[in-house]
């Protein structure tokens, strides 16, 4: 793979996406307001849960806010990259414009995963980062190199798992054509990621760890921030993320063999 070429193409993707989005200024403003209101609503909901008891599943309110901050960052990444690109796959397949992607001398997964970008998602990421720094302060977290490395690894793994889940569902469009509902179901499950995993019953904890690995997406990175995480959990998250990423790649290449293109 020619890295220089891919960087050059990605730079063009960024440029064209920003230029397209900036054509609609009002939309960006509405997205910013939505991101702030959504965060305020989530914190309010979280504070209601903690009203009667100082702890939920062994987590204090201040600690649970870290999960909310990581969730907001990941949701921002979803809205910036995954949502605009991976929902476009459905359109590409229904309308047959995937033909143009497949006939370009560039990796098709790279193209359809990164071509578009929604700049208003950046605002959500920034709001999440701001909340995370606030949490680091109120929880008196000591910022050292090992902590920063582990946080980076676990958050990167969360992004990989999240991307793979989205990509996997979007790829099934090649057979089922309409899979929009499945994406909405996934989004609903991801809302669960705003709360500590220990606050759920044992069976739900198993479900959200094994079948839809929400636990790996927000809880483990948050535990790293609080110094509560064990090494085996971090290693497990790295393994899960790698398996998800490799499987999504293989699944895409397999699915392309069944692509029949839309009729003209």
């Amino acid at each position: 793979m020619n890295l220089r070429k891919y960087l050059k193409v990605y730079k063009k993707f960024l440029h064209t996406s920003l230029a397209s989005e900036l054509e609609y200024k009002a939309n960006i403003l509405v997205d910013l307001i939505t991101a702030i209101l959504s965060l305020v609503g989530s914190i309010f909901l979280l504070s209601i849960f903690f009203q009667n008891s100082g702890y939920i599943g062994g987590w204090k309110f201040e600690q649970a806010l870290i999960i909310q901050a990581i969730y907001t960052i990941l949701n921002g990444i979803t809205n910036t990259w995954f949502n605009p690109n991976l929902t476009e796959i459905v359109k590409h397949i229904r309308e047959g414009t995937l033909d143009f992607v497949l006939l370009k001398p560039i990796d098709s997964q790279f193209f359809i995963s990164l071509k578009k970008l929604n700049p208003s998602g950046f605002l959500e990421i920034m709001v999440g980062i701001f909340l995370l720094f606030f949490c680091i302060r109120i929880n008196q977290i000591n910022l050292n190199l090992s902590f920063l490395t582990l946080s980076f690894i676990t958050i990167s793994c969360s992004i990989c798992i999240l991307y793979s889940l989205w990509f996997f569902i979007s790829t099934t469009t090649i057979w089922f054509v309409k899979t929009w509902n499945a994406i909405e179901v996934l989004r609903s499950f991801l809302y669960i990621g705003r709360f500590p995993l220990n606050s759920f019953s044992f069976s739900l904890r198993i479900f959200f760890s094994v079948f839809i690995p929400i636990a790996f997406i927000t809880t483990i990175p948050s535990e790293v921030f609080l110094g509560l995480s064990q090494l085996w959990k971090i290693l497990l998250e790295v393994i899960v993320a790698s398996v998800f990423l490799i499987t999504s790649r293989k699944f895409w290449l397999f699915a392309l063999k069944f692509y029949s293109s839309a009729s003209s």
């Binding site: 193409v9 054509e23 309308e95 047959g96 033909d99 006939l103 370009k104 001398p105 003209s264």
Partner: protein, 331 residues
Amino acid sequence: MVQNIIDVRNLSKSFDISSKEPGLKGTIKHFFRRETKSLKVIKNISFEIKEGEIVGFLGANGAGKTTILKMLCGLIYPSEGSILVSGYLPFRRKENFLKNITLIMGQKQQLIWDLPPIESFYLNASIYDLDKFEAKKRIKKLSEMLEIDEELFIPVRKLSLGQRMKSELLAALIHEPNILFLDEPTLGLDVNAQRNLRKFLQKYNKETNATICLTSHYMKDITSLCKRVICVHEGAISYDGKLDLLLKKLSPVKEILIVCRSEEDAIKLENSGFTVKNKIKNEITIKIENNSITSSLKSILNNFDIEDLFINEPPIDEVIGKVLIKKEYDI
């Protein structure tokens, strides 16, 4: 000797198609138990195309023309048989193969809707690994050939269909491919835009010696661009050869309207042994076979007092229409 750039041998393609009975009962049945059957849409076809050739694929809707083009450019896996395009197996979609080909579809677009076409051209240039200087040079050259200028800087959504199609062509040709697959490129365009597009394709073929495979329902596209046609009927090839031979075979006679000086002359002509289609006063329409047209006209002009004369070619659409419903032509 000109080499074959496309070589297709015993190619077949089957699709699994599900069918549904009408009404609510049929819908419920279809939801729970979908009945699918395998439909062979391309049936054991073979042909070669030489470098620099322009070949038209003719056939009714659903005959299999687009499926053939999509297999040639590597979008669809063939069920049986072999295809070699420029020495590559298309469905492997190797980088060097993709740099050699392009697909243009009249009803689908790749340009970024909210931005001017120039942005899509530079994006494509980076995908094909062209530097900025080279991209600029090619955009200038192609925009001159296509006669577009200001349109390059206007958002695609505000362009007319003709301007958009020219921009689509430029985006698809920026990497200077030597094989062009065109699926109804003039669809929906007005007559002037169609003519301009044809002029451009002729020029592009002449200047670059590119091979062009074209499907179109506009017969003017076929007659002005293609010397050779491949007729597809229900997934099989019904004719592969020169277009003029096919036309001669399908319309062996010409109709000639003769205006005589007097009605007596017209009556004399009517009784002179020619096949008469109709006669109104001093005007008479006769049918003459293509191979005897010169001698027949000479004899008419020598023996009758003629005021005027018109030779009518049968409408090309009518002639080609016969191809679409016939299975085989032995020419």
